[in-house]
């Protein structure tokens, strides 16, 4: 530990600590409260960008195909996520419709867009336009995307309806499952420290 190593403060307990060099895949935790301070990800930017691109494709599929269908008396009734939101809206449950729309469509979409906006120009060696505001939007949006909770909710409602009719899983069900894993992977690989380092290097 050298005296010239840069200082960082724990975001959860404010304790000042010296940065230490990390082996690949290592994690640094706060010495007092145990919060994760930073971790090292080899090729974090490239990996995050690749996972984000895959997630965008799956997001598009997941939102344009039906999630589940009910087969009843020879009839197949299907619902997509957007149709679900619209039904809630028509049922005069506008606040619930807004909540479902925001947490499963708007926020994940914003997260993926902001990620691409920040990472793609950096990958090409340019500084992204409006880097700082977009970065702050990304940080604000992330807790509100709840694709994984939606996934569990769909599964529970399928069990609940299973006695009524035959259930037909739709394309979007599988896409949401994969999207859930990809977004978790994006969150795990994303390294804001490297991002800021690359931006100051480009500038």
């Amino acid at each position: 530990m050298t005296a010239s190593a840069p200082l960082i403060a724990c975001h959860e307990c404010d304790l000042l600590q010296r940065e230490v060099p990390l082996p690949q895949g290592g994690v640094v935790r706060c010495g007092r409260c145990g919060a994760e301070l930073y971790r090292s990800h080899p090729h974090s930017l490239e990996r995050t960008l690749a996972l984000t691109a895959a997630a965008i494709v799956l997001f598009a599929i997941a939102n344009s195909y039906p999630i589940v269908g009910l087969k009843l008396q020879g009839q197949l009734i299907q619902t997509s996520l957007f149709h679900t939101v619209k039904t809630l809206y028509d049922e005069d449950m506008k606040s619930i419709a807004a909540l479902v729309f925001t947490t499963t469509m708007l926020m994940p979409a914003l997260e993926l867009l902001a990620m691409t906006w920040l990472l793609l120009p950096l990958r090409l060696g340019r500084a992204p336009l409006g880097f700082a505001p977009v970065f702050r939007v990304l940080q604000a949006v992330r807790p509100w995307g709840m694709v994984e909770v939606l996934m569990l909710g769909v599964l529970v409602s399928m069990v609940k309806l299973a006695h009524l009719a035959t259930l037909v899983p739709g394309i979007a069900l599988w896409s949401f499952g994969a999207l859930m894993l990809l977004m978790a992977a994006v969150a795990a690989v994303f390294d804001p420290r490297e991002l800021w380092a690359r931006v100051s290097a480009v500038r």
Binding site: L16, C33, L70, S95, V149, G153, A165
Partner: protein, 214 residues
């Protein structure tokens, strides 16, 4: 190997909550901004305890109608039926899907309640500058932040069921007023957890230390 035992705030340094940069504010500025990303800077989240209490108390009040009012109203040829969160749990339990009954019971009843109890505990101990179990309280705060989103589960269940059953004409299922109250509880407790500043858990250490050395 003596670690630097000082907080950023005690040395007059501000941490950016968005990008993590440490900076020293200009001595005469009221509105400090991060020199790197432009976010507003504060030594501690402003009015953290008051805001958290306000959001938390609202959530506690709404937790009552969320559990008493129906989440779903079903009407069919065979009559109509109202389902609260608890009756949904009982339905799954008696129909043999005990694992789903447990998931819903935890996500919809236990998690919001434990989350509110945990926030009360964090607020009361922070307000009394307690030094009791600080590392456990820090862990509790991280758990509250992590687990809160899963309570949204029941909202999605209601949404999907309403959308699917609406179309088939045999029965109509409508979301009940309990769903609105429940959604509000989830969102409010998430905002409450965000308003709480975990650094308040550790601030009494500084004060104690300052007193001892002074």
């Amino acid at each position: 190997m003596n670690p630097v035992q000082a907080t950023a705030a005690s040395l007059g340094l501000l941490v950016c909550h968005a990008c993590g940069l440490l900076s020293r504010p200009a001595p005469d500025s009221h509105d400090a901004r991060c020199p790197r990303c432009g976010a507003h800077l504060h030594f501690r989240k402003p009015d953290s305890i008051t805001r958290t209490w306000a959001l938390l108390i609202t959530a506690m009040i709404l937790y009552i109608p969320a559990n008493l009012l129906p989440m779903m109203n079903t009407s069919s040829l065979f009559g109509s039926q109202s389902d609260t969160i608890m009756s949904g749990v009982v339905y799954f339990w008696t129909s043999g899907s005990w694992y789903l009954a447990l998931i819903i019971f935890f996500a919809s009843i236990m998690v919001p309640m434990l989350k509110m109890i945990a926030l009360v505990l964090l607020l009361v101990t922070a307000q009394s500058h307690s030094r009791w179990q600080q590392d456990q309280r820090a862990r509790l705060y991280r758990l509250v932040e992590f687990v809160g989103r899963w309570s949204m589960l029941d909202i999605y269940v209601v949404a999907v069921i309403v959308a699917l059953v609406q179309l088939q004409g045999l029965a109509t299922i409508q979301p009940g007023p309990g769903a609105i109250a429940f959604g509000a509880v989830v969102v409010l407790t998430m905002f409450a957890a965000m308003a709480f500043d975990p650094r308040l858990i550790w601030d009494p250490v500084e004060k104690q230390h300052g007193r001892n050395t002074a």
